[in-house]
């Protein structure tokens, strides 16, 4: 069984469309769905979040970072993965959920956004989930405040709510730099 599970995971990861349990429940007549989107689900504080699998390049254990002065509190620093320098973000801080535990289960999701790598520290990586577009709620109603800006939509997976993050908001370059700003021209 364990072996089969691995195979299934591997198929999912390969991006091939495979029939899921759900598909079989509806009988063989139902065609394998092509439009299921795959997401990597992870835990931050007590909530389940997800990022599209296409945006994730690698999942790494925690690595050393260098503090960068004059940057926002959610930036842990810059890290270096095989020669590539990237900003590393504490996602809990970014989402105003406290700070990530950085325990044994903590991981860094290395994402590719606008052709540049970023590291997102999360408390735990859970699973690859597939969410059909129709069960995605585009306009999140229940969540208010600053956090709503970072959310692309809400999905359901195994009766759990999964919050899909909008990376272009989470990684908005305007939020990274704070303080010490005189002006852009380097004025006297």
């Amino acid at each position: 069984m364990a072996e089969q599970e691995d195979l299934w995971q591997a198929l999912l990861r390969s991006g091939e469309s495979v029939a899921t349990d759900e598909d079989y429940e509806h009988g063989y007549k139902r065609e394998v769905r092509q439009d299921l989107r795959q997401y990597v689900a992870f835990r931050v504080a007590n909530e389940l979040y997800a990022i599209s699998i296409h945006e994730i390049e690698e999942i790494s254990k925690l690595f050393d970072t260098t503090h960068v002065p004059r940057t926002a509190d959610f930036l842990i620093g810059i890290g270096n993965v095989r020669g590539r320098v990237m900003p590393v973000i504490d996602l809990a801080t970014r989402l105003r959920l406290g700070t990530c535990e950085r325990g044994r289960m903590a991981r860094v999701l290395i994402v590719q956004h606008n052709d540049e790598p970023y590291g997102l520290v999360v408390d735990e990586v859970r699973d690859v989930v597939r969410i059909p577009p129709e069960s995605m709620e585009e306009r999140p109603g229940g969540i208010s405040g600053a956090r709503a800006d970072y959310i692309r939509g809400l999905g359901r997976h195994n009766d759990q709510i999964v919050i899909v993050l909008d990376l272009s908001e989470v990684l908005d370059p305007r939020d990274f730099v704070v303080g010490g700003r005189v002006d852009e021209g380097g004025a006297l």
């Binding site: 050393d64 970072t65 260098t66 503090h67 960068v68 002065p69 004059r70 940057t71 930036l75 810059i78 890290g79 270096n80 020669g83 320098v85 990237m86 900003p87 606008n114 540049e116 790598p117 970023y118 990684l171 370059p173 990274f176 730099v177 303080g179 010490g180 700003r181 005189v182 852009e184 021209g185 380097g186 004025a187 006297l188």
Partner: protein
């Protein structure tokens, strides 16, 4: 255009640059009246290959323009059209038009209308050329065998040579088939030194399996005896061709010696060639971009033996070399471990030898990659020459631009970043510096203004100077203008030194002209220049003499990809400072630090130097284990452009070559941080943006000390 368009643009730009260079040189030569036909040929080939390129990529308008231009250049090289100022003006206009067509700006002008208008101009030129065809003198004495295979161009050159009173020689040479390219090249060089090679005629006569014989038609001033000496070689015989009765000593035309192989019909141009010039423009105002067979098909090949490489790919290589450097450092660590083991003597010695060898080769590899990034500054100078030409016309001033050191090489990135600041400086020179011709004459100066553009290496940096012989800058006027614009207060102005006053031109919002002209003086000026130069770690200095001229001098590092850095520590955090911004580092006893109105300063060689504590500036949290010496600190004196400050740090850890990595979009604008680098053991370290920190320092001190004489003076020093 499709996805190939960047490739097309890059290649087209290169060809247009070549064309532009030929034109500039042509202009210089036309003034001295001694035209090199190869130059016109070069332009012709450049435009021809551009036409081919445009055809491949479906860039119709560029194709149309090159096609029409090709006709004009053909008339030029056939002597139907003279190289006059008017013609050159039109040709230079074509370069501008190419630029517009290559990268049209949204909503600016109408490139198509420009193209139509320009094609009309070219047509007028070409039409004028038709009326000036003069092939009066008979060349029959040369013999049909030769005449029959000459292209129109070759015949024209032959006539030109005869008109200039040169002797005509037929040089018969045999080449080893294996070394023919070298052989021809050597002979060509010899002949070119004494005249012009008009054409090569293949000869079947006597050609054996392992040799090829050629007849070379040469026009030259030297006499038969001399020519024989020039080409003295056992496989070469010289015949003189002369019209009958003109020279008694000459042999009769050696027509019977020449055998033209019937098979070499590709040598014969597609007749009638001139129709391309004559007919087409009459038919339609926009000649179609159809490929005609003129003049040869070989010119689609690249003009140069180069490979175009994306700079980012070089960055990847550079990174790899940097990482290899780290591996090498780690190997050093392994070596140390090995030495501690017993009986490892031979092995560790061998490892040491190998590591040393690797270090050397790594340095060579790094240098090799750096060299690939290097391009001559001449690329920018050529563009500037066009700017001078254009702006001086607009302002009705006569300028002579003198360029030297155009072969000085710099990192491609730096060269790119330089073109805008230099263009701005040149415009300023012409607009503000150089006086109107009448004014110059009345001042007893030469009517033609002079701008010198120089580049030369100085140590491991490159200096670029822009000097004019114009009216110079009056520091009192600059000071007064600065007060009027609120750049400095009247109190500051009272005590300002002449040099500091001059430096005010680099302040944002400063301009001495009250009305903005179209050329310069839009209020963004020298401050942008200074900022852009500081961005590439350069310094700019100005010196001037009223009535005599102004000299701007830019000092630049040779490359930015790898820099020498000073590694320092502050509150336990490690940073790198680009060594080219470090003037000196000194140890300072705490008791030597004074304060001026709450700000720390030291006195260094009689000048007051403001201090900046890196840990306070960056609000650094002290890392554990960090215990600074309370009695002394290290001060790193840094300066960019005109200002100097002392950065207070805890430790100096030494110097190192570092590979700079960009921080990416999100962190690009962190003030005071320029990039990151690796320092062994996968440790990432930040590189300080010294220009920015110096600016901040100056800002802090200026706002706090508006009436402090001491500091105001020290900042500029």
């Amino acid at each position: 255009m499709d996805s190939n368009s960047t490739e097309f643009i890059a290649e087209a730009q290169e060809v247009i640059e070549t064309f532009s260079r030929s034109l500039l040189e042509l202009e210089t030569q036309s003034r001295s009246g001694n035209l090199d036909p190869d130059l016109i040929n070069g332009s012709f080939r450049a435009v021809h290959s551009l036409k081919g390129l445009a055809g491949l990529f479906g860039a119709t308008s560029i194709g149309d323009l090159s096609h029409a231009l090709e006709n004009t250049l053909d008339s030029l090289r056939l002597g139907k059209l003279d190289v006059t100022r008017e013609v050159l003006d039109v040709l230079f206009e074509a370069i501008e038009l190419f630029g517009v067509l290559l990268m049209p700006k949204e909503g600016v002008g109408d490139p198509d209308a420009d193209l139509d208008r320009f094609l009309g101009k070219l047509q007028a030129l070409t039409r004028a050329a038709e009326q000036k065809v003069d092939n009066s003198e008979s060349l029959e004495w040369i013999g049909e065998a030769i005449l029959g295979v000459l292209t129109e161009y070759e015949e024209h050159r032959l006539r030109e040579n005869l008109k200039a009173g040169r002797n005509l020689y037929r040089v018969h040479a045999a080449f080893d088939i294996l070394a023919i390219d070298v052989g021809i090249e050597t002979l060509k060089e010899k002949l070119k030194a004494h005249g012009e090679v008009i054409t090569y005629l293949p000869s079947v006569d006597g050609s054996s399996d392992d040799s090829i014989e050629l007849d070379i038609l040469v026009g030259s001033d030297i006499d038969f005896q001399k020519m024989t000496e020039v080409v003295a070689d056992q496989d070469v015989t010289v015949h003189r061709l002369a019209p009958p009765g003109k020279d008694g000593k000459a042999r009769p035309p050696a027509v019977e010696d020449v055998h033209v192989p019937v098979s070499s019909s590709e040598q014969i141009p597609d007749q009638p060639e001139p129709e391309v010039v004559v007919e087409e423009p009459k038919e339609s105002p926009r000649p179609s971009a159809r490929e005609d067979a003129q003049p040869s098909e070989t010119s689609l090949r690249s003009l140069s033996q180069t490979v175009r490489v994306d700079l980012r790919r070089l960055d990847v290589l550079m990174n790899l070399v940097g990482e290899l450097g780290l591996v090498q450092a780690n190997l050093g660590g392994v070596l140390d471990l090995l030495r501690e083991l017993e009986q490892s003597g031979d092995v560790s010695r061998e490892l040491q030898v190998q590591i040393r060898d690797m270090t050397r080769k790594l340095a060579l590899l790094q240098q090799g990659i750096l060299d690939v990034r290097m391009v001559p500054i001449g690329q920018v100078f050529d563009k500037l020459a066009r700017v001078v030409r254009k702006v001086s016309r607009e302002l009705d001033k006569e300028i002579r631009l003198m360029i030297s050191g155009e072969r000085t090489v710099l990192d491609k990135l730096i060269v790119e970043e330089l073109s805008d600041p230099l263009m701005h400086m040149i415009r300023n020179c012409i607009d503000h510096g150089i006086e109107a011709p009448a004014e110059r004459v009345s001042l007893g100066k030469q009517q033609v203004g002079r701008i010198e553009l120089r580049a030369f290496p100085k140590g491991n940096r490159v200096v670029i100077e822009v000097e004019d012989d114009g009216r110079g800058m009056n520091w009192q006027k600059i000071r007064d203008a600065a007060v009027r614009r609120g750049v400095i207060t009247a109190d500051d102005a009272a005590s300002i030194s002449p040099q500091d006053a001059l430096n005010l031109v680099f302040t944002p919002g400063f301009s001495t002209r009250d009305q903005a002209s179209t050329v310069s003086g839009r209020g963004v000026g020298m401050d942008v220049v200074r900022h852009n130069i500081a961005k590439i770690s350069g310094m700019i200095d100005v010196s001037t003499e009223v009535g005599r001229g102004t000299l701007f001098s830019i000092t630049l590092p040779v490359t930015l990809a790898i820099i020498q850095a000073l590694v320092i520590q502050s509150a336990g955090h490690t940073f790198c400072i680009p060594l080219n911004a470090v003037l000196e580092s000194i140890m300072v006893e705490s008791r030597d630090i004074g304060t001026v109105e709450g700000h720390e300063v030291i006195t260094l060689r009689g000048k007051t130097l403001p201090l900046l504590h890196l840990s306070r500036l960056f609000e650094l949290q002290p890392l554990s284990g960090h215990r600074p010496d309370p009695n002394r600190v290290y001060v790193v004196v840094v300066g960019l452009a005109q200002h100097r400050v002392g950065l207070v740090v805890d430790e100096l850890l030494g110097q190192q070559d570092v590979v700079i990595k960009p921080l990416g979009t999100a962190l690009r604008n962190v003030p005071g941080i320029a990039g990151a680098t690796e320092l062994g053991a996968n440790r990432t370290v930040l590189l300080l943006d010294v220009g920015r920190l110096v600016d901040e320092g100056a800002h802090i001190y200026q706002t706090a000390e508006t009436n402090s004489v001491t500091i105001g003076g020290a900042l500029g020093g």
